[in-house]
């Protein structure tokens, strides 16, 4: 079997280094060529790997490549190992494939930006780090990739570094993600302390090492791990991994960075904060499924976080007016679906939704970027409307993406969301546990909300009358802060405010069309009739839950979720589509609560950030200043005062003190020599 994984990592790395060092002096065409070319090469390698993997079966699909020894210290041996298996193959296809399309889109979107080379170099860095994250063969290099994508995200959120809001958002994203890194590091420490290794091949897959000596060995890796380490240790490891997953995938309670991350350029939001990086948490849970299964309580925690985050984000999305923030909360909500599926035991179902979400959410962000680009940086849907005629291509892409997001048959989101919801329902009926029914209800309610906020967005932007000021095109959002040149007052007065709005060029249109096509057909590789992806992933994510395909329960779930989505779309039509929408401030306390995002940001600021800073200041003044420094002065003063008679010795020259010390030392030595 072919294994080109090292090349998949190497190409984007080369792109990053080349553009980072020399990009400033290169012409734009060459920058685009290098930036996109390296990702295309990586994608080609990923396809080749994937195709060759289809030719073999079972254990032969997984192979490790060890590149070098990172560190050896006592019993700890960490190699730079890359694992090629069905899960990493699927993830690499998504990362490099969707990544390539977004690189191409960026050629158009960032065309007028001064830091063109910097942008592409950071994007390449991101692709490198993300491929490392999904291809790593042990937890340490997972952490390296994990932090690397966090870094790329930080650099790209703060890409327009002279904007205070972008700088603050970048820092917030970084620090919150470091909380996740902290969890992952502790998980690694505990794994090493317990098992003495960090390799996936030993920890996660079918390793006889953990079998009790002389006893019958369980067939199930999770049971072996639990038997070896005990339930409580496994629970601790799983929960620490979950801290990392929750931070990276913007789930409660560490979601606060994602909406602010929309300060970055829109291609970044599409690539990092929708299609790939934020799904790393979902990937981690699927990858480490044996660990989670070894402590079933951890999956219950995943379920609670997933259900709560889904509803939490979907409700906030309903009142946002910034089109990118609507999509950001929608991303959080959709990621929560993936966690719900995983919690119910459908790890491959979570990955399936990850892939379909990558298509339609990247598409939606690209289409949103096209709108922002056309409106010279405007992101507020209250100042939009009626753009359907000016931006027909964008409109239809938005509709396709929106239908997929709302999970309407037969778009790809329908298939994957249905897989998740039916696995939750299956879990509920087989276990009879009330909690799973609640989770299922949360999933259905979120489906209705999703339909509502998605089409509220589409209707408000594309239907009705245009509500904003005249558009003076000057590229994308990055120039928004620059003073726009005023058009000639007299002539402008009667002009169509959208006269100069243009549909996107080919560099942006082609990737959008490809993703639109994928959003339509992308679900067909895993349908209830032929769950192909599910079967392909079995070696990586374990046997999936038996879905109630074809039964009455199955049809019930499909009809219910579809009805919920259509209900949501219908309400959106009634309020925003059939008439000119109004965005008057609401006095409904629940709406105010939503507009303040449940006050979570304020709570963190008051309960965590400010107390820490206040503590630091208090310590500086009273401990550092008075107790320690003052103590020193006190002792110094005491000595000074007591030795007035010895003033002659206090020359103030440090060298004299040193000489005295040295003389003293010699005297003491002499004493010991002369001593009998």
């Amino acid at each position: 079997m072919l294994n080109l994984t090292p090349l998949i990592l190497l190409f984007p790395l080369i792109g990053f280094v080349l553009l980072g060092l020399f990009g400033k002096r290169l012409p734009k065409a060459l920058i685009s060529l290098i930036g996109c070319g390296v990702v295309l090469l990586a994608f080609a390698c990923a396809v080749a790997d994937f195709v060759s993997m289809l030719g073999v079966s079972g254990a032969a699909q997984s192979s490790n490549i060890t590149i070098f020894n990172w560190v050896t210290s006592g019993g700890l041996t960490i190699d730079f190992t890359l694992l090629s298996d069905p899960l990493s193959a699927v993830m690499l296809l998504i990362v490099t494939g969707v990544g390539f399309l977004i690189h191409v889109y960026s050629i158009g979107y960032m065309a007028d930006d001064d830091g063109y080379w910097r942008f592409f170099s950071f994007l390449n860095l991101f692709i490198f780090a993300m491929t490392l994250l999904v291809a790593a063969g042990n937890f340490l290099f997972l952490l390296v990739g994990w932090a690397g994508v966090g870094l790329a995200s930080f650099l790209l959120i703060g890409y327009w570094y002279t904007r205070p809001s972008a700088v603050a958002a970048a820092r917030k994203a970084f620090v919150v993600n470091v909380i996740g890194d902290f969890g992952l590091m502790l998980a690694i420490f505990l794994l090493f302390k317990t098992f003495g290794t960090l390799n996936y091949s030993e920890l996660l897959y079918n390793s006889q090492r953990w079998c009790p000596r002389g006893l019958e060995c369980s067939f199930d890796q999770a049971a072996r791990l639990a038997g070896f380490a005990g339930q409580s240790t496994m629970l601790a490891i799983a929960l620490l991994l979950l801290v990392a997953a929750v931070a990276k995938s913007a789930q409660l309670p560490l979601h606060v960075w994602l909406p602010d991350a929309m300060e970055g350029p829109t291609p970044v939001s599409a690539l990092i904060h929708a299609a790939t990086m934020v799904t790393a948490g979902v990937y981690l849970v699927a990858r480490a499924h044996s660990i989670f299964q070894a402590a079933p309580a951890s999956l219950a925690v995943v379920a609670v976080i997933g259900g709560a985050s889904a509803l939490f984000a979907a409700t906030i999305a309903c009142v946002q007016t910034d089109i990118k923030r609507v999509l950001a909360y929608s991303t959080m909500s959709q990621l929560a679906y993936m966690f719900m599926g995983e919690a119910a035991g459908g790890f491959s179902g979570g990955i399936f939704h990850l892939t379909t979400h990558a298509y339609f959410k990247a598409l939606l962000f690209m289409a949103a970027g096209a709108v922002i680009h056309a409106l010279a940086g405007e992101q507020d849907m209250r100042k939009m409307g009626g753009l359907r005629h000016k931006l027909p291509l964008t409109f239809w892409c938005f509709v396709v993406g929106g239908l997929a997001l709302a999970a309407v048959f037969p778009f790809d989101g329908f298939w994957s969301k249905d897989t998740i919801l039916s696995s939750v329902l299956e879990r509920a009926t087989t276990s009879g546990d009330f909690g799973w029914y609640v989770l299922y209800a949360a999933g259905i309610l979120t489906a209705a909300l999703t339909g509502f906020y998605t089409f509220r967005l589409i209707f408000a932007v594309f239907l009705g009358e245009y509500r904003g000021p005249e558009i003076v095109p000057h590229g994308a959002e990055h120039a928004a802060s620059a003073p726009a040149s005023r058009p000639n007052g007299r002539n402008a007065a009667r002009r169509d405010p959208l006269a100069r709005v243009r549909e996107v060029g080919a560099a942006m249109a082609v990737p959008m069309l490809i993703l639109a096509a994928l959003s339509i057909i992308g679900g067909f590789y895993d349908t209830p009739i032929k769950p192909w992806l599910n079967e392909f992933l079995v070696p990586s994510t374990g046997p999936a839950v038996e879905l109630p395909n074809g039964s009455g329960l199955f049809w019930f779930s499909i009809v219910l979720s579809l009805a919920a989505a259509l209900l949501g779309i219908g309400i959106a039509w009634a309020r925003y589509g059939s008439r000119q929408p109004r965005f008057a401030p609401s006095r409904n306390p629940f709406v105010i609560l939503l507009e303040h995002r449940y006050y979570v940001d304020d709570l963190y600021d008051r309960a965590i950030v400010r107390p820490i800073v206040a503590l630091g200041r208090w310590l500086r003044r009273d401990v550092e200043g008075v107790a320690l420094d003052g103590g020193t002065r006190g002792v110094g003063g005491l000595i000074g005062g007591a030795s007035k008679g010895l003033r002659a010795l206090q020359t103030g020259y440090v060298r004299n003190y040193a000489l005295a010390i040295f003389t003293g030392a010699v005297l003491i030595v002499l004493y010991y020599v002369i001593r009998p």
């Binding site: 990172w70 952490l143 390296v144 690694i188 310590l619």
Partner: protein
């Protein structure tokens, strides 16, 4: 003994440089110093090349009688603990001399300056190399004197206060250590009925490491006093922010980059090596002090307003991580500690140089005065970014490897210390980004916006120019090592392995560890 005395050459080359610097004209003195220290670095690299990874004990030893009656010999040796510290000292001396070009050009007392800098380097080399305790002490004092003078003569406006404070703290610590050294020699000679000696291998052969527990604890504490002050361990750190913020950058490169390591080195060499029982029994105390220091200093860095003081706290917070690793008393912890000594030296040197470059361009080091500098100094910003990321422990860069091992070691020894120590990664990201973003990003403001108006020469500021070639050249080796040692830290740990593995059983042997049910795969 007929082999080439490479350790003596490494030790005395800087001294030779000092002699030349005293005699030659200013600029020639600078060039000469640079040349000599580069040669010194080359010898250190050759030493690393020749070093045997399988020998646990001292290699390339030199031993000559000096004052036989007092038990003092001229004895040098290198093993897995000090090998890379020699190279670090040589490298940072080169960097410090290279960065002192302005001092040579402007001339004021530049001869004294270079002589002292090179004497300081020799002193630190001797501290790392000496295997006789009194020789160690001689170099220890030899290192302190030039350091006081450099801070006191060439520092900022509050240099006198900073230097006196430095003297007060270090002198008390050193004297206690001297008492400890002599007491150790006397006690060992009494109990083993052998001649009085202060040679470390001889002392160990005479059973120095198996003294009664009480004695060990007193001696441990005597050595602790000197080393903890040097490291800047809580609560003995009060001299650090003053000294680091007043001293000129090249001096801080040596004081924070290398001299602080002599304390951490002393902990490994003497406290762990000679007082194993006390080390084991006091490990909890050391852990508590380290963890308090790690978090308390991080908090101080978070609220610091002057960025040199911020860096001083960053430095001691990270030094506390090293001590935490060392007193985890397992292979990962100790190797992580030593590895981190090297990484910390590289990064703190780069940070103080960058801070000096920023101050030279704007005349200020108050964070509130800054904003948006990256637009006008993109390369400085890029280098600063990489060093910032390494300092906050980004996986893939050098500091991560050392911290990872140190925290892992600490975690294995005590979950509480491991968790609390590792927690520092969160404030670390916060304070480093506060520094980097506060200076480089946001709209142009404060001194950055007005920097071009400062006439050349006044307030130490020229016009706000990007990184110059000379400045970049000084940072380049640090930058390269930051990246390389992040990718292959194993290059260093492989050479520590056998020494550390050999040292630890003495500590853990008497340790009756509770046998956990799960430790079927026992690791060191």
């Amino acid at each position: 003994m007929n082999q080439f005395p490479i350790l003596s050459v490494i030790l005395f080359l800087p001294l030779l440089g000092a002699v030349g610097a005293a005699l030659l004209p200013r600029m020639a003195g600078w060039g000469w110093s640079l040349l000599v220290t580069l040669a010194d670095l080359a010898f250190c690299l050759a030493l690393i090349g020749q070093f045997s990874t399988t020998t646990p004990g001292y290699q390339f030893t030199e031993n000559r009688a000096w004052l036989p009656g007092v038990g003092v010999t001229y004895a040098l040796g290198v093993d897995g603990v000090n090998l890379f510290l020699l190279a670090l000292n040589a490298l940072l001396t080169v960097v410090a001399i290279g960065a002192s070009w302005n001092v040579a050009r402007n001339g004021d007392r530049s001869r004294e300056y270079f002589v002292l800098l090179l004497l300081l380097s020799t002193g630190m080399m001797g501290v790392f190399l000496a295997t006789n305790l009194l020789l160690f002490y001689v170099f220890w004092e030899l290192m302190l004197v030039p350091a006081y003078l450099l801070v006191g003569m060439f520092g900022g406006p509050r240099r006198a206060y900073a230097a006196i404070k430095f003297v007060l703290y270090t002198a008390v610590g050193s004297l206690l250590m001297l008492v400890g050294i002599i007491a150790l020699g006397a006690i060992v000679s009494d109990t083993s009925h052998t001649a009085f000696t202060l040679d470390l291998p001889a002392l160990l052969a005479h059973g120095a490491a198996s003294l009664p527990r009480e004695t060990q604890i007193w001696l441990f504490l005597a050595f602790f006093a000197a080393f903890a002050v040097k490291v800047g361990l809580f609560p003995l750190h009060s001299w650090v922010p003053d000294a680091y913020s007043e001293a000129p950058a090249p001096v801080v490169v040596l004081i924070a980059g290398v001299m602080a390591k002599t304390g951490a080195y002393g902990f490994v060499r003497f406290n762990l090596g000679v007082f194993p029982t006390a080390s084991r029994d006091l490990a909890t105390l050391m852990g508590i002090l380290s963890v308090i220091g790690i978090l308390y200093f991080a908090l101080q860095a978070l609220v610091a307003q002057d960025f040199k003081r911020l860096l001083a706290y960053v430095s001691i917070s990270h030094m506390s991580v090293i001590v935490l690793g060392i007193f985890a008393l397992n292979t990962q912890g100790v190797e992580g500690g030593i590895l981190q000594m090297v990484n910390h030296g590289i990064l703190i040197a780069a940070l103080f140089l960058i801070a000096a470059y920023i101050e030279a361009r704007t005349g200020s080091r108050r964070l509130a005065d800054f904003g948006g500098m990256a637009k006008r100094t993109p390369w400085l910003a890029a280098v600063f970014m990489i060093i910032t990321l390494a300092t906050l422990g980004l996986p893939g860069l050098n500091s991560f490897a050392g911290e990872f091992l140190a925290f892992l070691g600490a975690f294995r020894a005590s979950v509480v210390f491991g968790v609390l120590g590792t927690l520092v990664v969160i404030p670390a990201a916060w304070y480093m980004l506060r520094f980097f973003q506060g200076v480089m990003e946001n709209p142009e403001s404060g001194t950055v916006a007005t920097a071009t108006d400062i006439p050349r020469g006044r307030r130490g500021g020229a016009k706000l120019s990007d990184l110059r070639w000379g400045e970049f050249g000084v940072l380049l080796p640090l930058l390269v090592l930051t990246i390389v040692l992040g990718i292959v830290p194993g290059l260093l740990t492989a050479r520590m392995e056998s020494t550390v593995q050999h040292m630890l059983p003495a500590i853990t042997a008497s340790h009756t560890a509770p046998v956990l049910p799960n430790t079927t795969t026992v690791q060191r």
